[in-house]
C-alpha cells in the first residue's frame, strides 16, 4: 500500500463522504422524529401493511408485519431501500474515480509516472473506500441507536451492532463489481451506468423472486439475497454465512479488477 496515494484519495473524498454521512444522519433524524407519532397509529399501520401485497413489502425489506417495532420501522424507512441507494451511489462514485475516472481525466498518467506499482494504487484507494464504507455504516448504526433512544424507541442495540458488519459487507460487495466495471469500461459514465444497472438488476431479481419461483432460483446470484436487515436486527446474531458470501463478491471483484488494471493501457 502507498500512504501517499491513500492520503490523496482521502483528501479528495473526505468532504463527499462527510456529506453522505450528514445526509444519512439528517434523514435518520427526520424519520426517527416521526417514529413516536407513527407508533401511536401502529394498529392502523399494521392493518394497512397486512393489506399490502407481499412483493411490495419485500421490496421495502419488510418480512414481518409488526409495524410498531423500531427495527421494522427503520427497515421500511431506511435500511430496506434508501440506505442501499445511498450506499450504492457512494460506492459507485468512488470506484468510478478510482480507475475509469482517473484515466479519463488523464491524472492516472501523472500517478503512474511516479514510482508506485499499479497494485499499490488500487489497494491504497481501495483502503480509502473501505474507510468510507465503514464510516457510513457506523454513522447509520450508531445514529439509529442514538436517535432511536433519544426519541423513546425500544432500540435493539445488539441488532444494530450486528447490522454493522452486514452493512459493511454489502458496501464492499457493491464495491467489488463496481470496481471491476470501472477497470473494464474506459468511459466513466458508462462505468457508472453499468454499475448502477447491475445493482438495480440484483435488486429486481431479489424483488422478482417473490413473484416467480424461477427468478427466486437465481436470487442467490445477486448480492441482496444475502442482505436481510430486519432479520439481522431482530435476531441480534451475526449472519456469518451472508457476510462471508458478500465478502466473496468483494474479494472476487477486487481480484479481477486488479488483474484487469495490471494489464490495462493508460492512454
Amino acid at each position: 500500500m502507498s500512504r501517499t496515494v491513500f492520503n490523496k484519495i482521502v483528501s479528495e473524498r473526505w468532504r463527499g463522504t462527510l456529506v453522505y454521512a450528514l445526509g444519512i444522519l439528517g434523514y435518520l433524524l427526520m424519520i426517527v422524529a416521526v417514529y413516536p407519532t407513527f407508533k401511536k397509529t401502529m394498529t392502523a399501520k399494521s392493518q394497512l401493511l397486512k393489506d399490502y401485497p407481499k412483493a411490495v413489502l419485500q421490496f421495502f425489506g419488510v418480512k414481518s408485519i409488526n409495524a410498531a417495532s423500531f427495527n421494522n420501522y427503520i427497515t421500511i424507512e431506511l435500511l430496506g431501500l434508501i440506505w442501499i441507494v445511498i450506499m450504492a451511489a457512494f460506492v459507485i462514485a468512488w470506484t468510478r474515480a478510482m480507475i475509469s475516472g482517473e484515466i479519463h481525466d488523464g491524472t492516472m498518467e501523472l500517478l503512474l509516472s511516479q514510482p508506485v506499482a499499479r497494485w499499490q494504487v488500487l489497494t491504497s484507494e481501495g483502503t480509502g473506500l473501505l474507510v468510507g464504507i465503514v464510516s457510513l455504516a457506523v454513522v447509520t448504526a450508531v445514529g439509529s441507536m442514538a436517535l432511536g433512544a433519544a426519541f423513546g424507541a425500544k432500540v435493539s442495540y445488539s441488532g444494530f451492532a450486528v447490522f454493522l458488519p452486514l452493512g459493511i459487507a454489502l458496501g464492499l460487495a457493491m464495491a467489488g463489481y463496481s470496481l471491476l466495471l470501472s477497470a473494464l469500461v474506459n468511459d466513466p459514465r458508462r462505468a457508472v451506468m453499468a454499475s448502477a444497472g447491475l445493482t438495480l438488476l440484483f435488486y429486481l431479481i431479489h424483488f422478482g423472486g417473490t413473484y416467480s419461483k424461477v427468478i427466486d432460483k437465481i436470487d442467490w446470484f445477486g448480492i441482496f439475497h444475502y442482505y436481510n436487515p430486519l432479520a439481522t436486527l431482530d435476531s441480534g446474531t451475526v449472519p456469518v454465512k451472508s457476510i462471508l458470501l458478500l465478502l466473496a463478491f468483494a474479494v472476487v471483484g477486487f481480484g479481477l479488477s486488479l488483474w484487469v488494471f495490471q494489464r490495462k493501457d493508460i492512454k
Partner: protein, 310 residues
C-alpha cells in the same frame, strides 16, 4: 550505469488494427539529448508511454537503464522524470499540493520543485482548476524535473508555453544536460529539435524513418532560397551546375530554388551580380519528412491504411 539508457527491440504497439508503433528500433545513449520528431499521430506519444510502462507492448520490448519498461516499471520510474503530452493534473489540488504529492513518492525533490516554480514564475498557492493551460504545463514540467532524475522524458514540452518560458525551459534542460542527464523529448517543431537535440529520430505512421545527428541533418538540410537581381536576370547564370540545387523557378528578375547542403557556392556565384534581395528559409517539416522517407523507402502518400496512432 549502462551507456545505452534506452533501447527498444522490435517494439510494437497495436490498438486493435490500428498501428501505434511497429518494429521500433531505438537507442538513446547516456548524456544524449534525443529529439523525437514526427507529425501528430505518428506514434511519438505511444513510444514514450511504452517507455514509461503506461502501455503494454504488443510485441518486442523496451529497456530503460537495462530494465524492462513494462515488467520493471516501478524501478524504471525511480530514474525517470516524465512530462505527459497533455498536462492532466488534480483540479482541486494546489500547485504546492502537487509538488508535495510527487515529492512524497520519491522522498525528495520538494525544494527543487519550489526553486523551479520560482524560476518559471508560477504561483503555487492556487488550485489547479484556476490555472491557465500554460500554467498547468509549467506545473507539469516542474513535476517532471523536480526529482533530478538521470533520464528525462518529455512529450512536446513547449506545448502552451509562451516564448519567454520556452527559453527558460531550454536553459533548464541545458543545465540538466550539462549535469549529465539524458533527455528524450518529442516534438513536431523542427527548430525546437534543432535547438535542443544532439540527435533526432523521425517517426511517421508508427515507423522510425531514420535517426540522424543534428549537425549531419543541418549539413544536408533543404533550404528554400529566393534571389532577386537588381535589373534583369543575368545571362549565363549556371545555377543548375551547383551541387545540391534543384527546383529552379524563374519569374522575371526573381529566382527561387531548393538547396541541399553547403550554401557557400551559391552565395559566391550570385555575389558576382547585382543582387536586390537574397532570402533563405528553412525547409518545412514536411520537406524534411519527405527527405527522410525517400531515403528510408517509406510510403509518403497519405495516411496509413491502418489508421493513425492515438
Amino acid at each position: 550505469m549502462p551507456d545505452t539508457v534506452i533501447k527498444t527491440s522490435e517494439l510494437t504497439k497495436l490498438y486493435g488494427t490500428v498501428v501505434g508503433v511497429r518494429d521500433l528500433e531505438l537507442e538513446v545513449e547516456r548524456g544524449e539529448v534525443f529529439g523525437f520528431l514526427g507529425p501528430n499521430g505518428a506514434g511519438k506519444t505511444t513510444t514514450l508511454r511504452l517507455l514509461m510502462g503506461l502501455l503494454r507492448p504488443s510485441a518486442g520490448k523496451a529497456d530503460v537503464f537495462g530494465l524492462d519498461a513494462w515488467k520493471d516499471s516501478v524501478a524504471v520510474k525511480e530514474k525517470v522524470g516524465y512530462l505527459p503530452g497533455e498536462a492532466a493534473l488534480y483540479e482541486r489540488m494546489t500547485g504546492i499540493g502537487h509538488i508535495k504529492f510527487v515529492a512524497n513518492f520519491n522522498g525528495n525533490g520538494e525544494e527543487e520543485g519550489f526553486n523551479l516554480a520560482e524560476r518559471l514564475e508560477l504561483e503555487l498557492e492556487r488550485k489547479v482548476q484556476t490555472f491557465s493551460r500554460g500554467m498547468k504545463q509549467k506545473l507539469a514540467i516542474i513535476l517532471a524535473l523536480m526529482k533530478n532524475t538521470p533520464l528525462i522524458i518529455m512529450d512536446e514540452p513547449t506545448n502552451a508555453l509562451d516564448p519567454i518560458t520556452q527559453k527558460l525551459l531550454y536553459d533548464i534542460l541545458n543545465e540538466r544536460r550539462n549535469d549529465g542527464a539524458t533527455i528524450l523529448f518529442s516534438s513536431h517543431n523542427l527548430p525546437e529539435v534543432e535547438r535542443m537535440a544532439d540527435r533526432v529520430g523521425i517517426i511517421r505512421q508508427g515507423t522510425l524513418a531514420g535517426t540522424e545527428r543534428i549537425e549531419d541533418m543541418r549539413a544536408k538540410r533543404l533550404r528554400n532560397v529566393e534571389v532577386i537581381f537588381d535589373g534583369e536576370l543575368p545571362a549565363g547564370l549556371a545555377l543548375e551546375s551547383l551541387p545540391g540545387v534543384t527546383g529552379i523557378e524563374t519569374l522575371g528578375n526573381r529566382i527561387q530554388l531548393k538547396l541541399k547542403g553547403d550554401i557557400n557556392p551559391l552565395i559566391k556565384l550570385v555575389a558576382q551580380y547585382d543582387v536586390a534581395d537574397f532570402s533563405v528559409t528553412h525547409a518545412s517539416l514536411e520537406d524534411v519528412f519527405l527527405e527522410f522517407y525517400e531515403e528510408a523507402g517509406v510510403d509518403t502518400g497519405g495516411s496509413s491504411p491502418e489508421g493513425d496512432a492515438p
